[in-house]
């Protein structure tokens, strides 16, 4: 029987990693580093904020990691927290080391659709990584948006990522930035408490506000509930989801959440799409 290949097949095999070299490595926290990567040969397609790449630690394995910085030129940044075999190996990669990059995959935050209105960016822990390029974009085109608020939470001050950068956003006064930690130290000057509690103190104009949230799944649920309670429509509340992603292209079956494939239809979803699915235990 004849086999019809779709017309717009990607030119290269999406499963084959593209060689990149580590050109910079910055430690964020005790277990998290940001890697700057440059292509050895031809680069991947320029990613959009919210998309992810599959990063290959040769000889160990491959994991999905969000794009945490899109620099001019061909450099991409990834912020990796060491939680297991592959992420540990990536975190240990020194300048000069080779890694494989496949991507970019998945949906983006849809920043353009928020233009003309207010934007609230809410991040928990490493969840700030995929939102960092959003903040960069908001700052770069500050006048396209009305009020911009960035709420950042972490378990403790030591676990805040991009600390220096967050402080500089705060200092610039071009956007409102609030930070909170679950457990404070004596030197901590921000708030104390979980992220959703910060929302109470933010002025929200529900008709024109777009909310972008990334963090642990419980945090997504509580935070979304909070902003929905303030009248923001579920279509305008976007979250980035995590599931077991092994291929990134909708073929491994591991990242299913009911009808959606996280890698293909996400990772960024409007709450109207995934909220009802997340309400089901073990879906």
């Amino acid at each position: 029987m004849a086999l019809a290949l779709p017309a717009d097949v990607r030119p290269a095999d999406a499963m084959v990693p593209v060689p990149y070299r580590v050109v910079g490595r910055a430690r964020e926290t005790a277990d998290t580093v940001t890697l700057s990567l440059e292509p050895v040969g031809s680069p991947i397609v320029t990613p959009a904020p919210g998309q992810f790449n599959m990063l290959y630690a040769f000889g160990v394995g491959e994991v999905p990691i969000s794009i945490s910085g899109i620099d001019a030129g061909q450099r991409v940044r990834h912020t990796v927290r060491a939680v297991g075999a592959v992420s540990q190996e990536l975190c240990a990669a020194e300048a000069g080391a080779m890694v494989g990059v496949r991507g970019p995959f998945g949906t983006d935050w849809g920043i353009d659709s928020a233009a003309g209105g207010d934007v609230i960016v809410i991040a928990g822990g490493i969840g700030l990584a995929p939102l960092r390029p959003v903040v960069h974009e908001l700052l770069r085109n500050r006048r396209r948006f009305r009020r911009v608020t960035v709420l950042v939470g972490a378990r403790s001050p030591e676990e805040l990522v991009f600390r220096g950068e967050v402080a500089s956003w705060q200092a610039s006064a071009r956007i409102t930035v609030r930070t909170t930690v679950d457990y404070a130290t004596a030197a901590w000057k921000g708030d104390v408490g979980v992220v959703p509690t910060l929302i109470e103190r933010v002025t929200i104009d529900p008709e024109v506000t777009t909310v972008m949230i990334c963090g642990p799944e419980v945090m997504l649920r509580f935070t979304a509930a909070e902003v929905l309670g303030r009248g923001v429509a579920a279509e305008r509340v976007r979250v980035s989801m995590e599931r077991n992603v092994q291929c990134g292209v909708g073929r491994c079956g591991h990242c299913q959440l009911g009808p959606v494939l996280i890698c293909l239809h996400g990772p960024v979803f409007p709450w109207s799409r995934v909220g009802p699915l997340l309400a089901r235990r073990e879906l």
Binding site: M1, A2, L3, A4, L5, P6, D8, V9, R10, D13, A14, M15, V16, P17, P19, V40, G41, Y56, F58, G59, V60, G61, E62, V83, G84, S87, G96, A97, M98, G100, E242, R243, N244, Q246, C247, V249, G250, R251, C252, G253, H254, Q256, G258, P259, V260, L261, R280, R281, E282, L283
Partner: protein, 386 residues
């Protein structure tokens, strides 16, 4: 290459020696002929060169949790239904290499993909052609096709054989996939019983099929041949006893995710994954680094995975589906409901393998029917988790 409509060709008749010539012609063309053969008490698919290797005179008795070969009282070569194997084993092998590379500080040298075998599949059932069409949707008709599958699939020649003896586990008519071969074949054979040795009505489904048939000693089908073949088709259709009511089932299932039946089935299900291993459409796979002794050599393998394992949905914080209830629910709702959302088709073709090969005889048609019949029940006590 668009196949011409089967109606462009006239059916022809092939006798048993002619079937051997067909195999010989395929071998001459450099193809590996894969067909049914008896091994370990089951009909499995393997490389064959002689019609003597076909399951002549063998049939099967199947039921929930049951598969037995039985001697037929005739010597039909294709008088069985389907066994534990499917063509998936050849088009989407249990283990395959995605890529291999040599890594150094200068760069990464990726080896070109390996050549794929040129297969001819002999004895493909209607439901199996439907299952291959389902895998095409998942693996090829996407923006990111699986190159290995696509290459094997494109090379392969499909010689279907219409079912004469469906098993009690078969429910293809209700899934709209059989028992009569309709499309997707290069040639479709119908085995016509004859005390002097069965003969075959050959329907031609593609130019490739026509080209091969032209090389064989065939004769034009006579009215008697057509009538005898039609009797096989109608006999097979009448012999299918099981059914799955598919219309509206997707909605029923997604509205019954908290139905107590999931607990009942979970109390029987061993989470052994047999059902996913025998299913011709299941495509879940692990993509993993293959162990290598050389630090400079990297290689990724794709291996069959199953949604019945805890680590299928593993995140570093733990599994997303820690109970058997949620894993069976994932499997069945994927097949019958969310597959439609993801790929625009059912994930089940009604071959019945999962019913026969389930060690405890769980029957997907019975589970679906029970939930439909008791639509809206919810488990008690509400929110209870093991």
């Amino acid at each position: 290459m668009a196949p011409s409509a089967p109606t462009d060709y006239h059916p022809v008749v092939l006798d048993r020696p002619g079937l051997q010539s067909l195999i010989d012609a395929l071998v001459t063309d450099g193809r590996r002929v894969i067909g049914p053969t008896v091994r370990d008490g089951a009909v499995v698919y393997d490389e064959i060169t002689q019609i003597g290797e076909l399951p002549g005179g063998w049939g099967d008795d199947q039921g929930p949790g049951r598969y037995r070969l039985r001697r037929r009282d005739d010597d039909l070569l294709f008088g069985y239904a389907v066994g534990p194997d499917s063509w998936k084993r050849f088009l989407f092998p249990p283990v395959s290499t995605t890529w291999r590379a040599e890594v150094s500080r200068e760069g990464v040298e990726v080896a070109p993909p390996a050549e794929v075998p040129r297969y001819a599949f002999l004895g493909v059932r209607a439901c199996e052609l439907a299952a291959i069409a389902v895998q095409d949707r998942v693996l090829v008709q996407t923006n990111y096709p699986d190159r290995d599958y696509a290459a094997r699939r494109e090379q392969a020649l499909f010689i279907a054989v219409n079912c004469s003896s469906p098993a009690t586990t078969c429910f293809c008519p209700s899934m709209g996939t059989g028992p009569r071969v309709g499309s997707g074949h290069d040639l479709a054979l119908t085995e016509i019983p004859d005390p002097a040795g069965s003969r075959f009505l050959v329907e031609i489904g593609s130019e490739r099929g026509a080209a091969i048939a032209a090389r064989l000693a065939t004769r034009e089908a006579a009215p008697a041949d057509r009538e005898a073949a039609a009797a096989v088709w109608s006999g097979a259709a009448a012999a299918v006893s099981r059914a799955l009511q598919a219309d509206g089932l997707k909605d029923v299932l997604v509205h019954n995710l908290e139905h107590p039946r999931w607990d009942t089935v979970a109390s029987r299900c061993l989470a052994c994954a047999n059902c996913t291993m025998v299913c011709p459409t299941c495509f879940c796979a692990d993509f993993r680094e293959a162990a290598s002794l050389s630090p400079d050599h990297a290689e990724q393998h794709r291996t069959w995975a199953t949604c019945f394992s805890v680590d299928h949905s593993q995140l570093h914080g733990g599994s997303m589906r820690w109970t058997t209830r949620s894993r069976y629910r994932q499997w069945m709702t994927h097949k019958l409901a969310t597959w439609h959302d993801q790929f625009g088709t059912s994930g089940c073709v009604g071959c019945g393998r999962c019913i026969a090969w389930c060690p405890v005889g769980i029957d997907i048609t019975e589970e679906a029917a029970t939930i439909r019949a008791t639509d809206g029940l919810t488990r008690l006590p509400a929110g209870a988790t093991p």
